[in-house]
């Protein structure tokens, strides 16, 4: 009976548990048994018990009591025990555990073991969880193995060295000579490890990088060999000979060619060759092409090669494979600033990707489209973006609207286009725009003076259709308040005018005020707009006053305050009285009671602060020719002395020609003769 059956038996029992509780019970029993076993002397079942524990650990249960067992098993002379011991160390120990230090010695010994499979275990574990201290300790061993061992060990030693350099960068110096000589190996595994190691060394040390630039021709040859070689059954993946090695060489070339003309020149031909000859019908080939493109764009390559690279990305955009479309767009995004014109050529395809099913592809297409907006293509590209906005996933809406606004602001061909675009966005996605949109739009409208009539018409139409979008409603209210007179005039050059009455407009604003959909800020806009209309309309001022006064007792403090202040304004406006005559103790005040477009009702009030009463007061008023005057009877003809009383007289003025009336138009001619 094979020993591992017991492990499998335990797994079967655990999986057979019907509830979480049952599973816990089984596992607790097993763990207790395992613990007991660990305490006993070696009985040949230790590796299986540890394996069981590792399974339990993978299910999420605690297994720290197995750590010391790992240490013991690693030190065992038996291969299968070492194997499980090292596996346990990689799963249960990491550099932060104290127990990990205890295996350093075992690893050291196993690195020189006669069996390469034991050496392999040590190398693997060291590369997986070796701490900085362990790395420093064992680096000379690794260096030795890099130079003198078979290819099976060399390739593992190379990657172990990579780990060590990541943990302790100073060790790079130690490994550099060995790394250099590894490049002349034939074995692909070793070459791959060597290239990864050299890449790591060059990334961390500029001097090492300088040194390895001399290896560019060698690397170019190596790469050529791979690309031009015939079918190699050992390394072939979908027609590509060892794509893993090819990609790593390309990445190393990228690092070496960056910011260096000589190195870049040396690899130019090779890159063109790879770009042209690699079959990208399968993922392996596409991976190589992708890496080639990245390298071309990062080094100092010729412009022809760059165009070739961008065209490859353009071809990728048309690929059926979604993954390839996605990485094409991420790459294009990186180069859209530096190679703007080249990327522009593929704008059509990029815009098509806005309609892709995949959300990641959509997002990339959006980013790229926004980056490609220019003065030349703004109109057509904006159409596509607005179309996208109407059906785009919710998580992209805010980004899309702000992108559209930025683009519109930078490249708007006309103010009318700009306003139309913003209104379109607000209608489609007004709930996803930033707060500054409202004041920004208001400012834009204000500056577009010739378009006030057009804008207020558009916004009025939008308002009566739908009052749910707060940003749109706020701007509409503001606009109506500011330019409502243009709306009521019933004529417009730029668009079909509406025939509305003052009541219609006030209805619209009142609907906003009363709707539960309106936010407090929106209500504020509506209330202020209503108030502003009182100076622009003629027949419904009373209605406005009543609307405003209702809100004087509104629960919302902001609205209440506004309403109260507006009410005060009304009153002040009403009783605004002017002193038209003040002489010798006689004061005559004039106050406007009502004012319409065609007329005015005025009250004259006379007071007398002299010692004697004034009798026989008659007033005459002179007004411009077209204005008709009607003076009602005064309240009395004696003005008491000492300001004890007053006389009032109402004057009606009819002003059909709407001549501008001012309070000093009325002149007082007559004054009492008995004053002195």
């Amino acid at each position: 009976m094979s020993p591992s059956v017991r492990l499998q038996e335990m797994i079967r029992v655990i999986r057979g548990a019907r509830t979480q509780g049952e599973e816990r019970g089984v596992i607790q029993r097993e763990c207790a048994a395992i613990r007991a076993q660990f305490r006993q002397a070696d009985n040949g079942t230790r590796s299986h018990n540890l394996a069981k524990l590792l399974y339990v650990h993978m299910l999420g249960y605690p297994a720290h009591f197995g750590q010391m067992e790992c240490v013991r098993l690693i030190a065992s002379p038996r291969y299968n025990e070492k194997r499980v011991g090292y596996l346990g160390a990689m799963m249960l120990l990491d550099e932060k555990q104290d127990a990990s230090l205890l295996i350093t010695n075992s690893i050291k010994n196993d690195l020189s073991h006669s069996s390469q499979y034991v050496q392999s275990l040590a190398l693997c574990t060291l590369a997986c969880m070796g701490s900085a201290e362990m790395c420093r300790d064992l680096a000379p061993e690794i260096d030795r193995l890099l130079r003198a061992s078979n290819s099976y060990i060399k390739k593992k030693a190379a990657l172990c060295a990579v780990h060590m350099v990541r943990k302790v960068p100073e060790l790079g110096e130690l490994f550099t000579p060995a790394a250099r000589s590894l490049l002349s190996e034939k074995n692909h595994g070793v070459l791959h490890g060597a290239v990864v190691l050299i890449t790591e060394l060059c990334e961390r040390n500029p001097d090492t990088l300088e040194q390895f630039r001399k290896a560019v021709p060698e690397l170019v040859l190596m790469m050529k060999g791979l690309v031009m070689s015939g079918y190699s059954p050992e390394h072939n993946v979908a027609g590509i000979s060892d794509p893993f090695l090819q990609v790593r060489i390309l990445r190393l070339l990228r690092i070496l060619g960056r910011n260096n003309d000589t190195a870049s020149d040396a690899m130019n031909d090779l890159l063109a060759q790879v770009a042209t000859n690699t079959d990208s019908s399968k993922t392996a080939g596409s991976a190589v092409l992708y890496e080639t493109v990245l390298t071309v764009m990062d080094i100092k390559s010729e412009s022809g090669l760059r165009v070739l690279a961008v065209n490859i990305l353009g071809r990728f955009l048309l690929n059926n494979d979604r993954n390839i479309r996605y990485i094409s767009m991420t790459s294009l995004q990186k180069i859209v600033q530096t190679d703007h014109n080249a990327v522009q050529r593929h704008r059509g395809t990029i815009v098509d990707c806005l309609k892709d099913q995949d959300a990641s592809v959509k997002r990339r297409a959006l980013e790229l489209s926004l980056a490609l907006v220019s003065a030349v293509n703004i109109r057509s590209l904006m159409k596509e973006l607005l179309l996208f906005l109407s059906s785009c996933p919710p998580e992209l809406r805010a980004h899309t609207t702000s992108g559209i606004f930025n683009a519109a602001e930078r490249y708007a061909p006309s103010q009318r286009w700009h306003i139309d675009t913003i209104l379109h966005v607000l209608t489609t996605a007004g709930g996803d725009v930033r707060d500054e949109t409202v004041p920004n739009l208001i400012q834009l409208i204000t500056t577009a003076t010739e378009l006030h009539c057009y804008t207020v018409h558009k916004l009025y139409r939008a308002l009566i259709t739908d009052i749910s979008v707060q940003s749109l409603v706020q701007v509409a209210c503001w606009c109506i308040g500011e330019y409502g007179d243009l709306l009521l005039r019933g004529e417009c050059e730029e668009t079909e005018p509406v025939q509305v009455t003052e009541d219609d407009v006030l209805d619209a604003l009142e609907t906003v005020l009363q709707s539960h959909m309106s936010s407090p800020a929106t209500r504020g806009f509506a209330l202020t707009a209503t108030m502003k209309l009182s100076t622009r309309i003629t027949h419904n001022v009373d209605r406005i006053r009543s609307i405003v006064s209702i809100y004087g007792s509104c629960i919302d403090v902001e609205l209440q305050q506004r309403a109260v202040e507006y009410n005060a304004l009304f009153k002040k406006y009403d009783h605004m009285s002017v002193t038209v005559y003040e002489k010798n103790g006689v004061t005559l005040k004039l106050q406007t009671d009502r004012q319409t477009d065609t007329g005015m009702t005025v009250t004259l009030t006379a007071t007398n602060s002299t010692d004697g009463d004034i009798t026989g007061l008659t007033l005459q008023a002179a007004v411009p020719k077209s204005v008709q005057l009607q003076m009602k009877a005064p309240s009395g003809d004696v003005i008491p002395a000492h300001g004890l009383g007053q006389v009032t007289q109402t004057v009606l003025l009819n002003n059909p020609n709407k001549v501008g009336l001012h309070s000093d138009t009325v002149q007082i001619d007559s004054f009492p003769s008995t004053a002195w």
């Binding site: 932060k96 190398l123 693997c124 997986c128 692909h188 993946v237 893993f244 991976a287 992708y290």
Partner: protein, 158 residues
């Protein structure tokens, strides 16, 4: 480099976890949770690449198992797909028409195979034949040892 490789089922049950950087136990659990949630939540025909923190996540579904790895930002995602595929091929060759149950009941073998293919988060061997041969050889070494050993199964816990 690869930071981690996870295998989990459609129900989110973890079948294999390989960590190539030191991560605290609690953090590991969180990452596994995040990965399973993210990957299992993907629509059927989405692309296989994701972003998570500063890592690229590449995943592929093979039958009932999701293979999910976390990579540095400069890694080649398309090549990562090939790496995952190569691992699946190795498992398939070893177990013969591999399925999830094979990996459940022989998880330690799945780890041994992985440790021959990846080391320190990097590919260590690019030839399928060489890999298969070394895996076989290790197994034979283990078998030989067991055959030659003289421990008594009866002494163990039932």
């Amino acid at each position: 480099m690869m930071h981690f490789l996870l295998l989990f089922s459609r129900q989110g049950k973890l079948r294999l976890q390989k960590w190539f950087t030191p991560v605290p136990e609690r953090e590991k659990k969180k990452i596994v949770r995040d990965m399973t949630t993210m990957v299992l939540g993907r629509k059927p025909r989405s692309c296989n690449f994701l972003h998570w923190k500063d890592l690229k996540i590449v995943y592929k579904k093979y039958a009932s198992l999701y293979f999910c790895c976390g990579l540095d930002a400069e890694e080649n995602e398309l090549l990562a797909l090939e790496v995952l595929h190569r691992y699946v091929e190795l498992l398939d060759k070893y177990f013969g028409n591999v399925c999830e149950l094979d990996i459940i009941f022989n998880f330690e073998k799945a780890y041994f195979i992985l440790d021959e293919f990846l080391l320190g988060g990097e590919v260590q061997e690019t030839s399928k034949q060489v890999l298969s041969r070394s895996i076989e050889a290790s197994d034979m070494l283990q078998e030989a040892e067991i055959d030659n050993s003289d421990y008594d199964l009866e002494l163990g816990w039932p």
